[in-house]
């Protein structure tokens, strides 16, 4: 393992890491609000909405993420008649798969967070004259996020690692570059470099969520 070689491959590998980071940011930014929306739907008094939310969660959690990615990238275009309109850029298709999968997990995390909130909170808010919507916004959501934070941190770190599944749908990202370099140069070094880059990314996330947890300690 020499330094010169590492510097030489660092450029393309960081290029790959950029795709990884971009996918991560897109998925987090969309799947967290999606998950919250699905939680609200699952708790809705309107039965069909709740049913749709529960079915969605069941399907996305009950099937492999890899299958879902393959389905969005290669399956959709094969659907008769409408398939030709469903051909997407593979990065976009994969993002969609990740978003829908992680949205379901976040929905369950938030639902758990909501269940942990004492019903006295709803009662106090009601007696103080807050509407259901005001109660949700000002009393429930803040507490729910606090409870859900450790689980959200956990999921986020999983997501960093799951981005490596892009390899299977041939979107060039960090692992892809590493594998190419290993095959080309007959050395294990690129894998180690990739590992270090993943560790750096998860380290940043870990520190970020630690800070958030400290900030929302309510003490």
């Amino acid at each position: 393992m020499n330094v010169e070689y590492i510097i030489k491959i660092a450029g393309p590998m960081l290029e790959g890491a950029r795709t990884t980071a971009l996918l991560f940011l897109i998925v987090i930014a969309v799947s967290i609000p999606l998950g919250f929306l699905v939680t609200l739907m699952a708790k809705s008094a309107i039965k069909p909405l709740a049913w749709i939310a529960h079915s969605y969660i069941y399907v996305m959690r009950g099937t492999p993420l890899l299958l879902q990615l393959l389905f969005f990238c290669f399956g959709l275009p094969q659907i008769p008649v409408i398939g030709q309109y469903l051909v997407m850029d593979r990065f976009v298709a994969a993002s969609l798969g990740f978003i829908l999968n992680y949205g379901a997990y976040f929905a369950e995390i938030f639902r758990g967070g909501m269940l942990s909130i004492d019903k006295g909170q709803h009662e106090a808010a009601k007696v103080l004259g807050l509407s259901k919507w005001q109660t949700l916004r000002k009393v429930i959501v803040a507490q729910m996020f606090r409870v859900a934070l450790p689980a959200v941190a956990n999921e986020s770190i999983s997501l960093v690692k799951d981005t490596a599944l892009l390899y299977a749908v041939a979107v060039p990202e960090l692992l892809n570059y590493a594998k190419t370099a290993v095959n080309r140069d007959f050395t294990v070094t690129p894998f180690v470099v990739a590992g270090v880059i993943y560790l750096l990314m998860t380290l940043v996330l870990t520190l970020f969520f630690k800070t958030l947890e400290k900030r929302f300690k309510f003490e």
Partner: protein, 247 residues
């Protein structure tokens, strides 16, 4: 003098279990009413029905002349909100908002409902914190307070909306005995200011001292009611005597 709260033949059942059996009483302006009775007698359910935390299955509740429920039929959701708005409530377990500071707890509802200017709201929260003796705790989160302090914050929070009627649901039952005094002192002060109050309590000495009237509930009905002298001095019913001798 017209009543502030009129409850007529209030009924509530969970399945076949009758929790309230035709409860009838009225509360006049400025009156402090203590409700006593054994656990499971329906005291809390009765109190919670007044602010629509429980739904009655029959009877009427009339607040300021407006029916919250009449012969078992409830007003519309908007009317319910309007009719229950003059009432504040203090809970056994405080139910403070843990994610807000003490001041945040006091100001959340008025700031959200926007009936007053921010300036008035902050001035009032400052006043009320000093009234309950917690001037220096405004920026502290509830988790850092003792039970007695939490309950005093809860009382101040209820007072922020200028209620005409305050309901207390066993306000000292979750407190260590040495902390009940500070909470009872605040309630006593409110009674001296002629705040209309209904207090469900197990503190017999407090009920005797502070209440203008005492209602003894047993088995889902009002067994006996009268002045503290009547109830504690010469109870008419055997079951009232039994209950008081146990407490």
């Amino acid at each position: 003098m017209s009543s502030m709260i009129e409850v007529k033949e209030l009924q509530k059942s969970f399945g076949s279990l009758e929790v309230l059996k035709k409860v009838t009483f009225a509360v006049n302006p400025g009156e402090a009413v203590a409700v006593i009775g054994p656990s499971g007698s329906g005291k809390s359910t009765m109190l919670r029905s007044l602010v629509h935390l429980e739904e009655a299955t029959g009877g009427s509740i009339i607040i300021h002349g407006k029916p919250l429920v009449k012969d078992g039929k409830y007003a519309s959701a908007a009317e319910i909100r309007e009719i229950t708005s003059p009432m504040g409530m203090v809970f056994q377990h405080f139910n403070l908002f843990p994610h807000l500071t003490v001041r945040g707890n006091l100001e959340l509802a008025p700031r959200t409902l926007k009936r007053e200017s921010i300036k008035d709201i902050t001035a009032k929260s400052k006043d009320l914190l000093s009234k309950v003796g917690l001037t220096d705790k405004g920026d502290v989160y509830p988790s850092m307070l003792s039970g007695g302090q939490k309950q005093r914050v809860a009382i101040a929070r209820a007072l922020m909306l200028n209620p005409d009627i305050l309901l207390f649901d066993e306000p000292t039952s979750a407190l260590d005995p040495e902390l009940t005094g500070e909470v009872l002192r605040v309630i006593r002060q409110l009674a001296e200011e002629h705040m209309t109050m209904i207090i469900v309590t197990h503190e017999m000495n407090f009920a005797r001292d502070v209440a203008d009237r005492v209602i003894f509930m047993d088995n889902g009905e009002i067994a006996e009611s009268g002045t503290p002298e009547q109830i504690f001095g010469s109870p008419q019913l055997e079951r009232t005597r039994m209950f008081l001798s146990r407490e």
